[in-house]
């Protein structure tokens, strides 16, 4: 087993070092592909062995790090069906996507030296496998940071910032972002979150005295540690999974991550890396629920999971429904689907058998990985063929690309959850868990999520594939090799869906070792409501975008183009107040001077240094003012939405009176109004205003970074002070 494990993780890293000596793109690709296939074989053999034998502990290096007071840290791994399944999934997806990359990377004319792409992909696979299989926190964190590093460097793959690699837009309407900037944002968020996560991990490790997962609950119970310390360390720990899985307050980076090459988006930023957060919570689920038996208030972390999951699910879906870039739509869709998984993980904390919810999460993880990576691969082909990022400009003729359309259709339907595809079974399982435990509010939220999913996927398909043959642009040729990997993925989700009635039961037996479960006997109502939601979502999208019966865009335009609060109420005065404060701090600033003024340059130095301190204080002021002003902004926004909708009604009522047309139009108008409210208000509320503080990090102004830093610091310190003193 040790040899197989070495083949699985260590070999890719060694091969990656070997690749440094080669130049030829094809050779590099083939060698990396063979390596990933080797890892896949090894992980499959290990999986079957584990299914037969049961969980095994394997130690590669003993005592990698020996520290006082803490159990020695080994490089050792726990192999069980859960880790085996996920590592096989990761290896398989890597192999498929590397196959696709062989032709994709050859099309990239500007970057002829592709070594770093292959090296980073292999290193990424190895670090992800380390995260999946490791049995202690420290080793897991090494793999975790390895993934961050690979993601950072792969997003910045087109480091030269050529115009064709910019994302965002469309130009003149929304800002464009360069790859270097995008990678910067990504790492600013993910890296800082990882630093906080390490703090949380090491707090747990020092409290427990051991870095191993299995010791966590047992050793915590007997030590009489204050509850607030346990909660604080778990909260800090949770920051890591939430940022890596792009959940609500820390989701900002994922749309930026689309600046990398498309295979990278397909592998790292949709299928595997962003699932690491879900996986690690899943892995710790039994231990976390065991902790809650000693420390009941620890349940707060499960509330946080649910809350963040619901917001991400709805907010991501709303933003995906408004997206204009193909890859950005898919990115928001990823945020939304992972939000769904977080909801289930949160519910698991309150269940008697949390691993059943865990199984449901894993089932959805697999089904989402299959369909989303297939969609990304299709998107890669489409972007290359048409040379544009925006779905409006693509409009490829359906008959020219019917293979692609079929692949995209199957994957989208699986993502929406249409029977008999894998997505249907996984979603049904999730809903069964939710309703079986009596969470009807969450059930409603998931139904809304399903409705929105159906809407935005249909919208994307309708706009991207056009039934009329007026071709907007020249098509570039594309290699046939790029069709097979997504086809294989789509077929897998089809096959598992068709034959897979029993997959759910098999997974439950595999993961939880429970023979039989009966949660909901009659789930026809559930399936009925899901299918209704899906059907109405699809129908709405078809009506709006295919039949062009409804016109959402005018209302949207009316609402979104209202004058900004900043122009309505002059924030300039607030600004001046903050600047005056800065001037009063002069004496403090002189204390902070960088250099003792000695020469005649002294004046200049003082002036520069004044500017520097001003920037800091102003930045902090700016951040707070932004937050407050947008809060007020939101209220005004709601009022405006009501007013404009009222006006809209009035106009239509007049036309109804005059023309005396059908009742149907009035109904449509009502739906239209509701939609404008959902899109215009809830979407803006959740994704723009509440997240403004974290968007401030996203805007990459250094002073807003400082604001965020100060706020994080303040919150944590106030927390500690309040608990310890009060």
């Amino acid at each position: 087993m040790r040899e197989l494990l070495a083949v699985e993780f260590v070999l890719p890293v060694l091969i990656a070092l070997l690749l440094l000596t080669m130049r030829d793109s094809l050779l590099l690709g083939v060698i990396s592909l063979i390596t990933s296939l080797t890892s896949l074989t090894a992980s499959l053999i290990l999986l079957f062995e584990v299914i037969h034998v049961g969980p095994v502990n394997v130690e590669l290096v003993s005592e990698w790090l020996r520290l006082p007071y803490i159990k020695p840290i080994d490089i050792s791994f726990t192999l069980d069906p859960l880790s085996g399944l996920v590592s096989s999934l990761v290896c398989g997806l890597t192999a498929l996507i590397l196959t696709y990359s062989i032709s994709y990377m050859r099309m990239d004319g500007k970057y002829s030296d592709t070594r770093r792409y292959w090296i980073l992909m292999l290193v990424f696979m190895a670090s992800m496998l380390v995260v999946i299989n490791s049995d202690n926190f420290i080793l897991m964190f090494v793999g975790w940071e390895g993934m961050s590093l690979c993601s950072y460097l792969l997003i910045g793959y087109y480091y030269g910032d050529e115009r064709e690699y910019w994302i965002g837009g469309p130009p003149n309407k929304a800002p464009l972002y360069r790859p270097s900037y995008s990678s910067f944002i990504t790492f600013l968020i993910v890296g800082c979150a990882d630093a906080l996560m390490l703090l949380g991990i090491l707090m747990l490790v020092t409290l427990v005295g051991s870095p191993y997962y299995e010791d966590l609950a047992i050793m915590l119970a007997g030590r009489g540690i204050p509850e607030w310390l346990v909660i604080l360390s778990l909260l800090l720990f949770l920051i890591g999974p939430m940022s890596k899985s792009a959940q609500f307050p820390l989701h900002v980076w994922l749309p930026y991550a689309m600046a990398g090459p498309t295979p990278v988006s397909a592998l790292l930023h949709s299928a595997t890396m962003v699932k690491a957060g879900v996986y690690i919570i899943l892995r710790l689920l039994p231990h976390l629920t065991a902790i809650t038996q000693t420390y009941s208030n620890v349940l707060i972390i499960f509330y946080i999971l649910i809350l963040s999951g619901v917001i991400s699910m709805i907010g991501g879906a709303v933003n995906a429904g408004r997206g204009v870039e193909l890859k950005r739509i898919l990115a928001y869709s990823t945020i939304s689907q992972i939000g769904l998984m977080f909801v289930i993980l949160g519910v698991a904390g309150f269940m008697e058998m949390p691993l059943i919810a865990g199984t449901a999460t894993m089932y959805h993880l697999i089904s989402h990985a299959l369909s989303k990576s297939a969609l990304f691969l299709v998107a890669g082909v489409l972007i290359h063929v048409t040379g544009t990022l925006y779905i409006d400009e693509m409009r490829v003729y359906l008959k020219d690309f019917r293979h692609l359309f079929v692949i995209a259709l199957i994957s989208s339907l699986s993502l929406i959850g249409v029977p008999p595809l894998i997505g249907f079974w996984s979603k049904e399982f999730l809903i069964e868990v939710i309703v079986g435990n009596g969470y009807y509010t969450l059930f409603l939220a998931i139904i809304i999520g399903n409705f929105l999913t159906a809407f935005y996927m249909t919208r994307m398909l309708i706009i991207t594939f056009s039934t009329s043959s007026n071709v907007l642009h020249e098509h570039h040729a594309v290699s046939r090799l790029m069709y097979y990997p997504p086809l294989l993925l789509a077929l897998t989700s089809l096959i598992i869906g068709v034959i897979g009635f029993d997959v759910k039961g098999y997974l439950i037996r595999l993961v939880t070792v429970i023979e039989e479960i009966h949660m909901v006997h009659d789930n026809s109502i559930l399936i009925g409501s899901t299918i209704t939601a899906i059907f109405s979502g699809v129908l709405l999208a078809v009506l709006v975008y295919e039949q062009r019966l409804l016109h959402i865009s005018p209302i949207l335009a009316e609402i979104t183009s209202r004058p900004r609060f900043r122009e309505m109420v002059s924030t300039r005065r607030l600004w001046e107040v903050s600047t005056e404060m800065v001037v009063k701090l002069k004496s403090v600033r002189q204390f902070l001077l960088l250099q003792a003024p000695r020469s005649k340059k002294a004046f200049l130095i003082i002036k520069n240094s004044l500017r520097r301190q001003q920037v800091i204080v102003r930045g902090a002021g700016k951040g707070f003012i932004e937050v407050i002003s947008t809060g007020v902004n939101y209220l005004l926004d709601l009022v405006r939405a009501f007013l404009s909708a009222k006006a809209f009604f009035k106009r239509h009522q007049i036309s109804i009176k005059v023309v005396g047309v059908r009742v149907g139009e009035a109904v449509f108008t009502g739906v239209n109004y509701l939609f404008s409210l959902v899109f215009g208000s809830i979407g803006r509320f959740f994704l723009k205003h509440l997240t403004l503080l974290l968007n401030a990090v996203g805007s990459a102004d250094m002073d807003t970074f400082l604001t965020t830093y100060v706020i994080t610091l303040a919150i944590l310190l106030i927390y500690i002070l309040a608990i310890t003193i009060g």
Binding site: E63, W64, L65, R66, L67, P68, Y69, I70, I138, V142, E145, G146, S148, L149, Y152, L153, G156, Y159, G160, D161, E162, R178, P179, S180, Y181, S183, F184, F187, L188, G191, C192, A195, L196, L198, L199, L202, M203, V205, T206, L229, L592, L594, Q595, A596, R598, S599, R612, V615, I616, M702, F705, L706, Y709, T712, L713, L716, L717, I720, L721, T724
Partner: protein, 484 residues
């Protein structure tokens, strides 16, 4: 009587005397590099780690049967990793320096480099001497040697307003030395000997430690005593910046560890060190975020990381304290050295230091860009670089020690840990501006980088990875011999 440690000090001095008399640049370069490598090889070949701690006494002066003074050198748990860092890093800096300094000497209109190499060797000897000395007088003498040679290197080969900068450095350092001398002489008054081995047992009045703290604080560039540091680091010749920044200011921290560390269980002293450290971390981080001159960014980053050294020193766990200090000294030294050497390539090839004027360096100088990425990511504590282990050890030290202290101490130390976000932020800011992006200035005439420069960068990258891979070997060296 064993004579191992003294060779480490003597080899560079002897070579320096020879180099001052050589009228040939290349020969001087080869001789000094060879000397640095020999010193390292000597340390490795004697395999002395097996029988730590070792102490050697020379020129013993005994009055009335009582050991009054001796020229003592020794290696124990407190200085072994510092010594290893110094000796492993210096050869690559020497290797790098020739082409760079030839360029610099041409700019200055001078002819010969032997003065530079002679001073560098004396400086090296001084650093090694400070680290291995086991006697107060020896310690002070070598420390003065370091200060004087550093002043001379900045004065003769520095950039910008080098005369004023070098004298500022000298003035501040001499004030620091004054405090150190006063503090250490009082040890003699109270303990009756100059030898280090009494420090653990001697009962000294607390004011001595405050005076020593001021002295070493100035040498480290802690907040409030840092005014000399950014200009000195920025204007020193770049290979010497790579020595000055991580190695020389770091031995100020080693001084704190050696003289104040054993008695740091004065709570007030701990709090003062912690507050100074926290202020340095935040001030240095802010400075590095807002500067535009690449060498000044690195200088502020050094202030910030000296703050981390102070943070480890303020913790009272005797074992973790030393481990975290030593490993962070090592990781910071390697990372900062590679950053200075990479920025040296910018100055050597483009003569630009402002990060707003240059971008897309990866198009022309791959290795330089890689150096920046590796250096900053290691400082930020990412695997697979040594910085990861040091970050782990620092956080563990704090979390192990601070909860038993009063609340305000705990809160302050947690604030210091959260400030680790600064390192990430300023690091990737520089990477985004300088390494990535479209090529700027567009008319760069690509100069072929000399082989020696490339090699030295590659060696340091490899060392960063190796020290991540085998932390247990280095740390077990400490666990056995920490003298408490």
């Amino acid at each position: 009587m064993i004579t191992i440690v003294v060779e480490l000090v003597v080899i560079p001095v002897v070579t320096a005397v020879a180099v001052f008399n050589i009228r040939n640049d290349r020969l001087a370069y080869v001789a000094s590099t060879a000397s640095a490598v020999t010193t390292l090889a000597y340390l490795i070949s004697t395999y002395l780690f097996k029988r730590l701690p070792i102490v050697e006494n020379y020129i013993e002066v005994a009055i009335g049967g009582h050991l009054e003074y001796s020229f003592s050198l020794g290696i124990d748990g407190l200085n072994v990793l510092v010594l290893i860092t110094v000796l492993t890093l210096l050869p690559s800096i020497y290797l790098y320096s020739y082409e760079y300094m030839k360029h610099r000497v041409e700019e200055l209109g001078k002819t010969l480099l032997n003065l530079f190499y002679g001073l560098m060797l004396l400086n090296t000897s001084g650093i090694i001497g400070v680290v291995v000395s086991y006697n107060v007088v020896t310690f002070i003498v070598f420390y003065e040697l370091v200060v004087l040679t550093s002043w001379a290197l900045i004065y003769f080969y520095g950039y910008g307003n080098r005369v004023s900068v070098s004298f500022t450095y000298l003035a501040w350092s001499l004030i620091g030395s004054l405090f150190i001398i006063v503090g250490l002489s009082s040890i003699y008054v109270y303990a009756g000997t100059f030898q280090f081995n009494v420090l653990d047992t001697a009962v000294l009045p607390p004011w001595i430690y405050y005076i020593l703290l001021i002295g070493f604080g100035i040498k480290m560039g802690l907040f409030g005593m840092h005014f000399w540091l950014p200009p000195a680091h920025a204007e020193a010749p770049t290979p010497f910046s790579a020595v000055l920044s991580p190695l020389i200011i770091g031995i100020g921290g080693y001084g704190v560890l050696r003289f104040i560390g054993p008695v740091v269980n004065y709570y007030e002293l701990s709090v003062i060190i912690l507050v100074l450290g926290l202020a340095s971390i935040i001030y240095g981080g802010l400075g590095a975020l807002l500067e535009v001159d690449i060498k000044r960014i690195l200088a502020y980053s050094s202030i910030s990381h000296m703050g981390y050294l102070a943070l480890t020193l303020s913790m009272q766990d005797p074992v973790f304290n030393v481990m975290a200090f030593s490993y962070h000294y090592l990781a910071h030294a390697y990372a900062k050295a590679i950053l200075f050497l990479s920025s040296g390539i910018l100055i050597y090839s483009l003569n630009i230091r402002n990060i707003r004027l240059v971008s897309g360096i990866l198009h022309k100088y791959r290795l330089c860009g890689l150096g920046f990425i590796v250096g900053f990511l290691s400082l930020a504590g990412l695997p697979p670089f040594a910085g990861f282990i040091s970050k782990l050890l620092i956080i563990l030290t704090v979390l192990k020690t601070a909860p038993e202290m009063p609340t305000e101490f705990y809160v302050l130390s947690i604030a210091a840990l959260i400030s680790m976000m600064f390192t990430i932020a300023y690091g990737i800011r520089v990477i985004k501006n300088v390494v990535f992006g479209s090529l700027k200035p567009e008319d760069i005439v690509s100069i072929e980088l000399p082989l020696s420069m490339r090699f030295s960068l590659i060696i340091i990258i490899v060392m960063l990875v190796i020290t991540w891979l085998i932390p247990h070997i280095l740390l077990e060296l400490l666990i056995g011999v920490i003298p408490i």
